[in-house]
């Protein structure tokens, strides 16, 4: 698949859609605890090209678990959009694409931003998504099913009372920090979406690909479906980073390994 070069190594701050949204420090401290590299032996680099080829040939990359492209619509909520996207990708794997409950990114950004344009920290977003959770999006289906829903945008506007009772059902469960490119690529090969921040913007990394003579990683952005190229059965929303940007992103990243089962058993 040939990807238009304008969507490779995108210099986010030069794009009209850009709002500085990622305020993450670029280097982890020493107190991150268990990292992905401790949990899972890194896959040797020599095996990556064949694995990337297999994902493309068999349509088994995480791009095929993306059920929609987010639209942060000018608010600095990219961190929350990327985390909510990662949550939805894991829902699709665990429960099925037709069971995915689309989420309200702003309901997470409400918890970590200080204003509509302030931006936020990836680690803070992961922490809140793991402890407090994220509300369902206010689409018709969700409004009929859940007591509390929110739109995808609208910082701290019309937050429903008692919203935490519903948000807790959409918590991240297992999330693990990543410290290296090897750990990041391994996480993607193991089917775990990775939330990264780079160039003051946050995106959801999905799968390794080989193109243009080297490794790239495909991600889904949150600048609506009209931005980017088509992938995974969706008409747009995707971009690619090559190694120098992957290195930058890998300095502070989180793999989403599971989400809690939100469903109420009969």
């Amino acid at each position: 698949m040939s990807v238009p070069l304008e969507f490779v190594d995108v210099d986010f701050p030069t794009r009209p859609e850009f709002i500085a949204g990622d305020t993450t420090p670029r280097i982890f401290g020493t107190d991150t605890g268990l990292c992905y590299e401790d949990l899972h032996a890194s896959i040797p680099e020599r095996e990556w090209p064949a694995m990337a080829e297999k994902l493309a040939a068999e349509k088994s990359g995480l791009n095929y678990l993306v059920t929609r492209v987010f639209d942060q619509d000018g608010e600095g909520a990219c961190v929350s959009d990327a985390i909510a996207q990662g949550h939805e990708v894991k829902q699709a794997e665990q429960f099925g694409k037709d069971q995915v409950v689309h989420l309200s990114a702003i309901s997470l950004y409400d918890q970590i931003g200080t204003s509509a344009q302030s931006g936020a920290n990836v680690g803070h977003g992961i922490s809140k998504a793991s402890s407090v959770g994220i509300l369902p999006l206010d689409n018709q289906e969700n409004k009929a099913r859940f007591k509390h829903t929110r739109p995808n945008i609208g910082f701290r506007r019309n937050v429903p009372a008692g919203w935490k009772d519903t948000a807790i059902r959409f918590r991240l469960d297992e999330v693990t920090p990543i410290r290296t490119v090897e750990g990041l690529v391994t996480a993607l090969f193991m089917g775990d979406p990775v939330i990264v921040g780079r160039s003051r913007h946050s995106i959801c990394y999905l799968r390794p690909v080989y193109a243009g003579g080297g490794l790239r990683i495909e991600y889904v952005n949150s600048w609506r479906i009209t931005w980017g190229y088509a992938s995974g059965g969706l008409a747009g929303g995707f971009g690619q980073d090559s190694l120098s940007l992957i290195r930058s992103a890998a300095q502070y990243a989180y793999a989403i390994r599971s989400v809690v089962d939100w469903r109420v058993a009969a």
Partner: protein, 148 residues
């Protein structure tokens, strides 16, 4: 006479209100619980239990492929459902998720991954070991689901 007319009017309004609730829903909060157990004869619930930290690349790729055509379509066409879970999947309160609480005895002590087949009586009718490098096609074959 007037009284009868009035009460008939109230009755009409109550009927219309009930119809509106039926058609439009209650506006949230009245969530129908998920019924995991299949309702029709022949329809099955499959649960693939895998420990994600022990997964191979092949099995990870298979879990994504199973959620897409042609595998997901074949499973759905039979009315079946597939859950792909870690043995320690939790609910919102950090307790074992309902599927884990109900069926963990079926895979206890067995090497993972395993595939459970559950019938409409909520009974585990088959527990199959799954090869750690199984493909999506092999897993669907183990379910007995035919691809188009």
């Amino acid at each position: 006479m007037n009284q009868r007319k009035q009460s008939s009017g109230v009755g009409t309004w109550l009927l219309l209100a009930a119809l509106a609730v039926y058609l439009l829903g209650t506006g949230g909060g009245a969530e129908t619980p998920v019924t995991y157990v299949p309702g029709s004869p022949g329809v099955k619930l499959f649960v693939l239990v895998h420990e994600s930290t022990q997964d191979t690349f092949e099995l990870s790729a298979a879990t994504v492929a199973l959620r897409n055509a042609p595998y997901a379509d074949a499973i759905k066409a039979g009315g079946h459902r597939l859950e792909i879970i870690d043995p320690d999947l939790k609910d919102q309160h950090n307790n074992p998720a309902p599927l884990v609480a109900q069926y963990q005895a079926a895979w206890a002590g067995q090497p993972l991954p395993v595939l459970l087949t559950i019938d409409r009586a909520a009974k585990v009718v088959k527990v199959q070991q799954v090869d750690a490098r199984a493909s999506a096609a092999a897993i669907v074959a183990a379910m007995g689901v035919k691809l188009p």
